[in-house]
Symmetry: C2
Subunit: 421 residues, 2 copies
């Protein structure tokens, strides 16, 4: 154990030293390294899949459930898709070096902010081995060194991927120490890693709520965490009901297991009798289970619908289930949202200009929508290219986080002898 | 004690509720409230100075030292200066509502980021009562509610100021609950406040290192802290020596007790024999004490200079003392800076274009300078108007923090029925 801690400390120090070089690498060198990584994922398929087979064998022996096993297993087509993602990152604009907020002071001092990498990013993640590739390429492109700590179940797969990435990056001109992988399975290492704020500038937890909570509560450095998404869609009195059906259907059904899917449908009482049967008809075809308040339940007496319990409000279902509630005004809808939302994505369906405007202004969430599906909350959809996650915190970054959110800035001041009077 | 905690909880809840209204107040209402506050500080001078006299009386009785007492005492001219500062904040542009990063996606969705307040800001500060006024006006202007917790020594002064501010803000159209003041002197309240992340979105500690460390280590919400400034100025081989004397003199002498003052002078060996006596002559006039490495000491044998000890490197002197070291290259200077700097302000004096460029690129600090005094690191000097502090962290904000740094953003998405394919 002592030697594993010592090794981790050494890796963190090496990453810090490498980060200083990485911060000033030209974009073309970083892109060449990324392309070399993409190529190596294909040419070194054999050793990656061999390692993965060992992990999968152990997983089956320990009777891992099918969903988890599916996330663990790699094959040629998954490697190809990882390689494609790395090429996409190579094609994105480099955020490092961008100058902004430039000005010239009356005394002639030229001041600007320049975008720079954060330094060393620690990533603690659970079983999916593609995270090793995703995060390494995002960190490399944004000029950050990375320390990867994956789950025990995928140790050999992650280790093989990390080795391929490290060697390819090095061949492409990036310092090999910029990519560090923690092999030891000791749990204690995570607690130690969370206290290494001297050499790790940011921690990203990628995994379930428990992991995120552990990291958020114990990290000595800043944390960039994706949060829970409890998403509401409010169908206003003046909504175009056809649009409202299409949007609520898409938001609930298109991919129900993700954070930006609809959890709660709020419907204005004046249109509830017309609208609720329309959406219920569509949802029934997709086997969406409705948990309704008293008024909605009454309107939907001809449909299969369940009475909502208190725990249905403010719940992230991650399944084909929706809470449904009738409200008497946009104010009541916004009060409900203020009470139960998790700061992720909230939508209104309305044709009224002032109501739309109020909703956008007053609802406090990372993403607020008029007349569109909350399913769009996604780095790729928003045009950020790759995505680190979706922040529900307000500090540093909010909503989808891309390459820019892995950077900070420095103030650059150019003078010709100015002193302060 | 229980009742004080209950009261604090209620105040935090009330502040949160008020923050929802404050977030959408028009700029003109906020400005009117600020002007009313400025006026009230003058018209209600009597009650403020009465309260301050009681604090000062107790402070003298408990033999508070003169420097602290000077920070505590208020008079007409100090109130006038506070009122002027509030008017300055009123005159600054309102950061709230600014739209940026706007784009239209191929599917017609219009996306933009909109700047919004953080919500409720908790401020824990030590004896200077002007912080009550400064921070309240910055929070109000940036649309944030504020909970103020001042030091025991200034309890009556702060309480009187907070009352004046609250009533004036209310008269100007701002919800009174947007400004909360904690009266109870119980220390335990601070620990409780640091855990109220449900209702407090950000904590700002204003005070000494101990207070900042206590808050940083224990707060459950994000912290916006000003850090220590260990500032280096490096005089390069190609420096204009006249400029280098003027700048190093200004950086050390103009106000030695603040974080952006020079702590360590690094001088290239090729010009050290000419330059060191020049700056030593000027510094001697201002009684600057020099702590020199061996080579500098030898060159300055005709001056009063002391040998540096290990603890002189990486030390924030906050006094008329400077560490002095001779180096053989810009690389050695940058290595020294990388090892000892606190991420605040670093300067190079050089006429060489490439050396200047490298220094700006490679030195990792909030502010990097060419040919100017580090004393410019300041919100007012940088044109931000008022200043919350100077961040040496990399997350959220770096360097001088103004109104914008008290905000976050939300993504606003305007559609006409878009669903995700």
């Amino acid at each position: 154990m002592q030697s594993a801690i010592k090794e981790l400390e050494n890796k963190a120090k090496a990453a810090k030293a490498a980060s200083r070089k990485l911060a000033h690498l030209p974009t073309e060198v970083k892109n060449k390294a990324l392309v070399t990584i993409a190529e190596s994922l294909i040419t070194r398929e054999g050793e990656i899949l061999d390692a993965n087979r060992l992990d999968c064998g152990d997983a089956k022996a320990s009777s891992m459930d099918d969903a988890m096993l599916d996330r663990l297993v790699l094959d040629s087509s998954r490697l190809q898709s990882m390689a494609d993602d790395v090429r996409t990152v190579a094609s994105l604009p480099d955020p490092v070096g961008e100058a902004f907020d430039a000005k010239v002071l009356p005394n002639g001092l030229r001041i600007e902010k320049r975008r720079v990498p954060l330094g060393v990013i620690g990533v603690i993640f659970e079983s999916r081995p593609n995270v090793t590739v995703d995060i390494s390429s995002l960190c490399l492109k944004s000029g950050n060194a990375v320390i990867l700590r994956g789950g025990k179940e995928a140790l050999r797969s992650n280790s093989a991927l990390a080795m391929v990435i490290k060697e390819a990056a090095q061949a492409g001109g990036v310092p090999g120490d910029a990519i560090q992988f923690i092999e030891s399975p000791e749990r204690e290492l995570v607690s130690r890693m969370l206290k290494m704020n001297e050499n790790i500038d940011l921690i990203i937890p990628r995994g379930g709520e428990q992991l995120v909570a552990l990291v958020t509560e114990n990290a000595a450095m800043p944390v960039l965490a994706s949060g829970v998404g409890i998403c509401h869609t409010y169908v206003d009195r003046t909504a175009d009901l056809e649009k409202a059906v299409a949007i609520a259907f898409n938001a609930k059904v298109q991919r129900p297991t993700v954070c930006n899917a609809l959890d709660c449908l709020l419907v204005h009482s004046e249109i509830a009798e017309r609208y609720l049967p329309m959406i219920a008809t569509e949802w029934a075809k997709a086997r969406v289970e409705m948990h309704c308040d008293e008024r909605a339940l009454k309107i939907l007496s001809n449909f299969k619908a369940f009475p909502a319990t208190d725990s249905d409000w403010g719940k992230e279902f991650l399944a084909l289930i929706a809470a449904v509630k009738v409200v008497d005004s946009v104010d009541e809808a916004m009060e409900h949202i203020a009470r139960y939302n998790s700061g992720h994505s909230e939508a209104i369906i309305t044709e009224n200009y002032s109501t739309a405007h109020r909703f956008l202004e007053e609802v406090d969430a990372a993403c607020v929508y008029v007349n569109a599906s909350t399913r769009f909350t996604d780095g790729g959809q928003f045009g950020l290219g790759a995505e680190v996650g979706i922040s529900t915190q307000k500090f540093h970054a909010r909503g989808p986080m891309g390459l820019k959110e892995l950077t900070t800035y420095k103030w650059v001041i150019m003078g010709n002898g100015q002193v302060r009077p």
